[in-house]
Amino acid sequence: MYTQAMDTMRDEGGDKPALRTAEEAQLQQRFDNRIDAGDFIEAKDWMPENYRKTLLRQISQHAHSEIVGMLPEGNWITRAPTLKRKAILLAKVQDEGGHGLYLYAAAETLGSSRDQMLDALHTGKAKYSSIFNYPTLTWADVGAIGWLVDGAAIMNQVPICRCSFAPYARAMVRICREESFHQRQGFDSLLVMMKQGTDAQRAMVQEAVNRWWWPCLMMFGPPDDQSPNSAQGMRWGIKRVSNDTLRQKFVDAAVQQAEVLGVTFPDPDLRWNEANQHWDYGTIDWSEFWRVVGGDGPCNRERLADRVKAWEDGEWVREAALAHARKSELKEAA
């Protein structure tokens, strides 16, 4: 997902060093009690080092996902087919930039600067959601991303609004409010093409859905039995619902929506399970997921190169702004 951090990070040995002062143990106890009581933790509160590190990693990764996520769709802003769709897409991609911004700000409260986080992204040390390493090849990809990718993201993000770390939770509340039009505009765009469009457009929509379906299912992260850090995340209230539960919820909703749209999903094993009242789906190719996470997705190199270029091209601008601010300050002081 946008927040695959819990699943793709290495285990760093936990937060229980053998020796610990009495005072620390007491702080830890108080922290645990607060977490168990469902209290929020603020940036200035004491927190175990591993909690801080895990959150920093997850929030910054989430932020990176938002800004890298601007690229595949941004790719179509200049080609949007009507002025209305151009405005909608621009506003949507702009929103994602805002989400990145709120999240960097939340992560900064944990003691890392935006520049440091961006540096980690640009040097390939930090990850972002695997989904944005897939290409947008047709206009229908824009609608499919809104419907399926934002749909999956919303499903994952709503529970984080109750995350134990309050600055993250607050950012997520704002983000979820803004997200509310993203999925709808995507679905609406596809619906118009399917219901009022031409055969060529319908074929374009179906082809896009075919390409995005499986990567979207991967967004929820590895199956629960292969998600070693999930338990800790749940305990901390960083993660609220398990990967498989969210994935199932997403599939169930998407199948019904696909029917309204008149498209199918590329999964011969997709069928209603009367016993558990859910839609069964086929086996996900996790080797593809790990390949994309590991850097060998179709667009990993392009995405990173685009971000690095924007950052490097902008360096003189940022320097100029600072230089001017210094000059103005001196002038005021004089």
Binding site: M70, L71, L90, Q201, A310, W316
Partner: protein, 261 residues
């Protein structure tokens, strides 16, 4: 492939299209920054500006499409006008279509055009066309903000580092060549003034120069000499960049005839 629509040669329609297309094409260029700006905050700011401009062009194109129906042509909607004209029927000033360049180029072009648009909207509030006057009233608020944003950046860049100053000077020198087009009258302006539709463009020159003088002075950038070069986008004769811009912008409408979006 859908063939192009025909635009009647009526001066009032041309007057509207010059303004509508300048907003449209500048909005198109600014949209290119989304995801690629020097700081995240600026991605958002430039997108806002692009959205305002696209909104303005939509209102103006809708109005122009109605005018087209009234002056002997067919009536058109905003998208037919935006996506299905031949290049020669786009009437934006050439300045708007130049590639986005570096950030200094974008900022200084925004400064020039937002100042020009602000002055234009101020006057169009008194248009004999009530619809146009209403569009102007709304757009004026947006243009004022665009101008302020661009002017603040122009000062930061002009009075920032050596590099930002050098880049600003280079951008200014190129952009300035395209500014005479913003202030030269022709038969279109004569007809528009006669009908009370809007000002002759030449009327904007003095106040524009005064405002540019002020900002460039604060940015410690010298106002370039008056150019002898003349661009002609508003008469439909564009730079070579325009064809590529339109190929990209029009591609879906052209490739999916009869499509619904």
């Amino acid at each position: 492939m859908i063939s192009s629509i025909k635009i009647p040669a009526a001066p009032e329609l041309t007057y509207l299209l010059r303004l509508a297309d300048t907003c449209l094409i500048l909005g198109q260029r600014l949209g290119e920054w989304c995801g690629h700006a020097p700081i995240l905050e600026e991605d958002i700011a430039l997108s806002n500006m692009a959205l305002d401009l696209i909104g303005q062009s939509r209102a103006l194109l809708t109005l122009a499409g109605q005018h087209s129906g009234k002056c002997g042509g067919e009536g058109y909607d905003e998208d037919q006008l935006a996506f299905l004209r031949d290049e020669i029927d786009y009437r934006n000033v050439t300045l708007a279509e130049l590639p986005r360049g570096d950030f200094a180029f974008t900022v200084l072009r925004n400064l020039m055009l937002s100042t020009w648009l602000k002055l234009m909207w101020e006057r169009l509030r008194d248009s004999s066309d009530a619809e146009l006057a209403a569009i102007a009233g709304k757009a004026l608020k947006e243009a004022r903000y665009h101008q302020q944003h661009a002017a603040d950046w122009a000062v930061r860049l002009g009075d920032g580092t050596d590099e930002s100053r050098r880049r600003s000077e280079a951008a200014l020198a190129t952009l300035w060549l395209y500014t005479p087009e913003l202030f030269e009258d022709d038969a279109v302006d004569a007809a528009a003034t006669a009908a009370g539709l809007g000002p002759a463009w030449s009327q904007l020159h003095e106040p524009w120069l005064a405002e540019m003088d002020e900002v460039l002075g604060e940015a410690k950038l010298a106002v370039p000499p008056a150019p002898t070069f003349r661009s002609t986008g508003k008469r439909g004769l564009h730079s070579e960049h325009m064809g590529y811009l339109l190929a990209e912008m029009q591609y879906l409408q052209r490739a999916y005839p009869g499509g619904a979006w």
